[in-house]
């Protein structure tokens, strides 16, 4: 083959950083798809069709990772250090563990009380925590050299908040149906 596999950032012509303007990335994705999508090659040779399929798949894949803060952080850490945080991992941080327990309890209480507006407030709170965590992540990734311990912890925290948000959604689904 002609050249080494590009990483997900390179595919979009980006520097490998944690901070990403997702709406802008999404319009860039559309511009790229516009020129490589299989529909553009419906009457081309099979060679070109296969390439187009591969490229489109690759773009969709790259976008799915980059738009999601947790996956983006994991990918970036792996890219820069080779550390794989995609498998189950725990981090030793008693303070955060406490907070985690508290948040889980709060969610259980609210779910039990079936109070939608309270659930929504709780979702807002988690979203705020998530935002703070993302900012911190961006800063950690700018440090030189990288503090890999801190980064792993930060990823773990973000992952937890992400998971909590999706649990809130499930709880809401249950309440509404």
């Amino acid at each position: 083959m002609t050249k080494a596999q590009q990483n997900y950032f390179e595919i979009f012509g980006l520097e490998p950083n944690f901070s990403i303007d997702v709406p802008k990335l999404s319009s860039k994705l559309r511009a790229l798809l516009n020129s490589v999508h299989p529909d553009r090659f419906a009457s081309s040779g099979s060679q070109q069709q296969m390439l187009s399929m591969q490229k489109t798949t690759q773009l969709n894949d790259a976008f799915a990772v980059l738009k999601n803060p947790v996956k983006r952080a994991q990918y970036l850490l792996h890219l820069k250090t080779g550390i794989d945080t995609s498998k189950e991992h725990t981090v030793n941080d008693p303070e955060f563990l406490m907070q985690q327990l508290e948040l889980r309890e709060e969610l259980e209480d609210i779910s039990a009380s079936s109070d939608i507006s309270q659930l929504n407030q709780f979702a807002d709170k988690i979203s705020e925590l998530e935002e703070v965590q993302e900012q911190q992540m961006a800063e950690l990734f700018l440090q030189k050299p990288l503090d890999t311990d801190e980064l792993q912890k930060a990823i773990y925290k973000l992952q937890f908040l992400h998971k909590t948000l999706s649990d809130i959604e499930q709880a809401e689904d249950k309440l509404l149906s």
Partner: protein
């Protein structure tokens, strides 16, 4: 006359550049075909001027097959040999469909394939064959009124159709002998027709309630790109269910034996009349067998309210998947005959907090959108006109220990897509691994749809947990799945294009193809040769166009020369060779253009990136 006129490579080739393509809305109750003529998309009528073809097929004792209006005449008089709503059976197993009342238990039997089959006086007919009759009838209509053969069609399917249902639809097209350019979702097609018509950018919801299926799709339209953000629905929910609810009431009022099939059939027809009449009237008088009575709109609405509510629950879930609130949807486009029901409009308006758009023809819009896209795909429109980006409607997963379904590609992921997951062996010395492919949102495998099972054999014996088995799911632009499994340490591989558990295999398709009426007179071999020649011509045209576009900048003299030689060779063989020789020559051309194709792709990506940066300034 020579079938093909192939000129020297380099010279411009095609005398008639415009190729015929059509869009087909293969509906539960009604089907339509549309095409683009002098820049305008329109549905095509039969000789009597009717655009809608009722999706009904009748098999007469003497073997005559009739489709549409003429088949409809037999619905009551020869119910046994008349098949309607066959779309509800597509891609389903016998067990799934025995609940459907229109097909009485003794009418449906198991065919050898696990698919249900309807017993008629002409023998057993499976849903794929029946659908292919409807397709043939539409294609014939188009070819007669356009005066030429169709180069390819787009067939629409409900967005919420699963893998098996999509595959069954494609199989039906193959048996009907039409080339499918792409399957696209019905609501996406509607959005294309609507979006191009109004040119309105932003976020649109398409609410499509037809005879047998319900779809809700949330799309974003921006600069000609139609991006499906999320889709949801129910592939067994529609106007038929309204009819059933009303028929239930009629049967009860008239005190009729529940097992009386022909009475039930009549109740369904009456129910539909009543329902449609109540769209414009407040009350209708009913004469049903010996029962005389009446029904007002309020009573009907009480019978169907829970069905309408089901559609709203799906809307809620889908908005959430799209990450949107109901108020963020700019407009709601109503598609499908059942959106004429006042209660449906009212409830949709309440839910979204704004009036839905009902001014486009809900019957034709899907076929028209499909025709527009077909015209683009077959190459009649210049590039960059428009692009459809679709998603998979249901999560794809694999069975893991304990009967759990692990998701590999979650629903609403944009296609085409590939995802891989690693698994390992759980016993020492294990040399084979069973892979069970499932589709659906539930956690337990038994609650999901089973798509296929296959086995990866020849894993070298290792201790438990040492093997690395990478399972890759690849979904193409039609939403069809291919699964590969590979032991990564040794490279032992196994792959299948998923043929759903209730599908036809290639042999069955070939045998149906051969027995199918339209091909009986025609020698299969001759047809295949002609197809191969057309394919050769297509390849030559495509490569020449590419050479003309950027052969100079991307190829050295020698490289270009090699490609041109291969093309010359192919052109010669296409006229003088047999099927295999042509196939071989196409492969040679493919090989010779491999590097060129990849450079072209890279160049166009680079251009798109640069173009995008400039756009932004």
């Amino acid at each position: 006359m020579a079938l093909l006129q192939i000129s020297e490579p380099g010279k411009s080739t095609d005398p008639h550049q415009h190729r015929l393509a059509a869009g087909i809305d293969l509906g539960t109750t009604n089907s339509l075909i549309a095409t683009v003529r002098s820049g305008k998309a329109e549905t095509l009528a039969d000789l009597e001027g009717d655009h809608i073809l009722p999706s009904i097929v009748h098999y007469a004792k003497d073997g005559t097959v009739s489709v549409g209006k003429s088949a409809k005449l037999f619905v009551c008089s020869d119910a046994k040999n008349t098949i309607s709503s066959v779309k509800r059976l597509m891609g389903r197993g016998l067990k799934d469909v025995q609940k459907i009342k229109e097909f009485s238990a003794n009418q449906l039997t198991a065919s050898g394939t696990g698919m249900p089959a309807v017993e008629t006086d002409c023998g057993m007919k499976n849903p794929v064959e029946v659908s292919s009759e409807i397709l043939k009838s539409l294609v014939k209509r188009a070819e007669e009124s356009l005066g030429d053969e169709l180069g390819g069609v787009i067939i629409t399917v409900p967005a919420y159709f699963d893998e098996a249902q999509r595959q069954a639809t494609k199989d039906a097209a193959q048996i009907a002998g039409v080339k499918v350019l792409r399957l696209i979702s019905e609501p996406t097609a509607a959005a294309v027709a609507y979006g191009l018509d109004t040119g309105s950018e932003g976020i649109h919801a398409i609410y499509d309630l037809g005879g047998g299926t319900f779809d809700i799709s949330i799309l974003r339209l921006e600069k000609g790109v139609f991006e499906v953000m999320a889709t949801g629905g129910d592939s067994a929910l529609g106007g038929d269910d309204f009819d059933r609810a009303i028929a239930g009431y009629l049967v009860e009022q008239a005190n009729i034996d529940k097992g009386d099939r022909s009475a039930y059939q009549m109740a369904m027809i009456k129910a539909r009349e009543v329902k449609e009449a109540l769209t414009n009237k407040e009350r209708v008088e009913i004469n049903f067998m010996h029962w005389k009575g009446s029904m007002d709109r309020a009573l009907m609405e009480s019978l169907i309210a829970s069905i309408v509510d089901k559609t709203l629950a799906a809307c809620r879930r889908t908005l959430k998947d799209a990450g949107l609130k109901a108020s963020e949807v700019q407009d709601i486009v109503m598609v499908g005959g059942s959106t004429r029901v006042p209660l449906v409009r009212q409830k949709v308006e309440e839910y979204f907090g704004k009036k839905p758009l009902t001014d486009i023809d809900p019957d034709k819009v899907v076929a028209i959108g499909a025709a527009i896209q077909a015209d683009v795909l077959i190459g009649n429109k210049s590039d960059e006109d428009m692009l459809l980006l679709d998603v998979i409607p249901l999560s794809l997963g694999v069975e893991t220990m304990g009967g759990l379904a692990e998701k590999i590609i979650p629903r609403n992921t944009p296609i085409p897509i590939a995802r891989a997951q690693e698994f390992t062996t759980y016993k020492d010395g294990q040399t084979a691994m069973a892979i069970h492919v499932v589709q659906g949102e539930r956690e337990l495998v038994e609650d999901c749809r089973s798509l296929a099972r296959f086995e990866l054999r020849g894993i070298p014996p290792m201790v438990a947990g040492a093997a690395r088995i990478k399972v890759t799911y690849q979904v193409d632009a039609d939403g069809l799945l291919k699964v590969t499994a590979e032991e990564t340490i040794t490279g032992v591989k196994s792959d299948i294009t998923v043929k759903p558990s209730y599908g036809l295999n290639d042999e069955q398709i070939t045998s149906m193809l051969q027995s199918s009426v339209s091909h009986a007179e025609e020698d299969m071999k001759a047809r295949m040769l002609r197809e191969q020649q057309v394919e050769a011509k297509r390849v030559i045209e495509a490569v020449e166009a590419a050479l003309a576009e950027n052969g100079d900048e991307l190829l050295s003299k020698d490289e270009r020369h090699a490609i041109e030689e291969a093309l010359k060779q192919l052109a010669y063989i296409a006229e003088n060779g047999d099927i295999e020789a042509i196939e071989e020559a196409i492969k040679v051309v493919d090989k010779s253009t491999e590097e060129f194709a990849s450079r072209r792709m890279d160049a166009s990506i680079a251009k798109a990136l640069v173009g995008h940066e400039i756009d932004e300034i």
